[in-house]
């Protein structure tokens, strides 16, 4: 079926560019992460060297933008229309929690919501676009685009696996997504900023540093405490919000349509 009510269907005509660019973007992100972890810089007494900061900033951002350019043309209008809603919710809810004394972020509820409703590509696109647009208000989120894309993609995967039919699985899916997000985002926090964006998360990192851990190890441990809990909560809230939507609206989205057409629904 055509996604446009006025133009012929273009199903099956996904260009080579749309197939290759997301894979290339994912490969750049993975290569950046591996490079940062395998060639982990040694901290001198005077601080960190600068190549990891440039690598984390440029590599993650370039990978996320390649992913976005490949994914966007494939999205149906229902997904394109809901992405700005997800982004606005991320910004409104994230700005509220970001600088409080709670070691959580809650800045990805909108991304998870879009992933659950509109699928993996829309979720990944929302993650990247969220970082790009939010950086107009808070530039520090810009290098975290790759982690945000992973959250959206994994939310879409959870939706595809049936999290919306069994809401009690949502926190489990969120927890696992949080582990991935923590591992991916830790090098950015460590090498680009040398710390975290909140006071409470900073206190956790300082505690691990005082216990003798290196910077990347401390931030990864802090992220592994904060992110799984944060994403478990975000997934649960998003799944409950989807469950509260009228069926008529839910069925406008392709991922929910697919779930509804499965036996047992």
């Amino acid at each position: 079926m055509s996604t446009s009510l006025t133009l012929p269907s273009n199903a099956g005509s996904t260009s080579l560019r749309s197939r290759i660019l997301p894979l290339l973007g994912a490969a750049v992100i993975a290569a950046t992460y591996l490079m940062l972890v395998l060639l982990q810089p040694v901290e001198a007494a005077a601080g960190l060297s600068s190549w990891p900061a440039v690598t984390a900033f440029a590599g993650y951002l370039a990978g996320a933008i390649l992913l976005l350019v490949g994914v966007l043309p494939q999205l149906p209008p229902s997904a394109v229309a809901i992405i700005p809603v997800g982004l606005a919710l991320n910004i409104v809810l994230g700005q509220f929690v970001g600088s409080t004394l709670v070691p959580l972020y809650l800045d990805s509820i909108g991304t998870v919501l879009v992933g659950l409703l509109a699928g993996r590509s829309a979720g990944a696109a929302t993650g990247v676009l969220g970082s790009l647009v939010w950086s107009l208000f808070n530039p520090t989120v810009l290098p975290f685009a790759a982690g945000a894309a992973a959250i959206g993609y994994l939310a879409g995967t959870a939706g595809r696996l049936g999290v919306l039919r069994r809401v009690y699985w949502a926190p489990v899916a969120g927890f696992l997504t949080g582990v991935v997000a923590a591992v991916l985002s830790a090098p950015v926090a460590a090498f680009v900023y040398g710390g975290t964006s909140g006071a409470a998360t900073g206190a956790l990192v300082a505690m691990f540093r005082a216990m003798g851990d290196g910077l990347l190890a401390s931030i990864t441990k802090q992220a592994l405490i904060s992110d799984p809990a944060d994403k478990a909560l975000a997934f649960l809230v998003a799944a409950l919000l989807v469950a509260a939507l009228p069926r008529r609206i839910r069925l406008q989205f392709p991922q929910v349509q697919r779930q509804a057409s499965r036996p047992g629904e």
């Binding site: 601080g47 350019v69 606005a88 919710l89 520090t140």
Partner: protein, 246 residues
Amino acid sequence: MIRLHPFTGLALAVAAALLTLAADRWWLSLAVTTAAVGLAVLAGTAARLMLTAGAVLAPLWLSQLMVHALFDTAGSEVLVAGGPVRLTLEGLTTAGGLGLRAAAFVSVFLLYSLTVDRIELVRAIDAARVPAQLGYIVAATLALVPATVNRAKAIEQAQAVRGAGEGSGPAGWLRRKRLLAVPLVLSSIQEATERSVQLQLRGFAGGPGRTQLHPVPARSWEKPFGLLVLCLAAAAAVLLASQGGR
């Protein structure tokens, strides 16, 4: 002040951020931050820049201070020691350098964000050879953020008028947030689904043959200048980073 094409300003901001990150020298970070504030004064947005930057940077600086300076175990010149606290000169220097670098990064992007004409930015994205969806999403988000904030306030007021969400403590807070979040999300998604029908009716995203009645003006030198600045910044960043940057 000279009015640049949105992409030229973006190229300058990215180049400045990349160079500051790669060089990692406190005096360069300080110079870039000062230049950004100076340009904001000329543009009449200095107060907003400093307020927004302060709100973004304060928790980050606090975090950097705790991570690098307050509990430093490596530095030799101890300034204050007591219990787990060990404040060293080396730790303070590192935290200060990282804080200045973050300040430069934040101030150049905020300067761009506060001075760019957002409608022109959206039109420039729409005219560029990027998927049409990008222009729509950026435009819709920039319009939706203030609209969502206003809608949230209206919902809060409506709930307060009907006496819902009263109660103190975490349970009362949670109840108030639920009474705010559910109608906010439901109404936003309902609107989005109605908008998607309008997009489909108009054949969005149509194809590459889109034209604009009034394209965003760009001087003939701006595009090559922007590309040159980005290429030079990338080359300098690679060079500086490979030398260690310190």
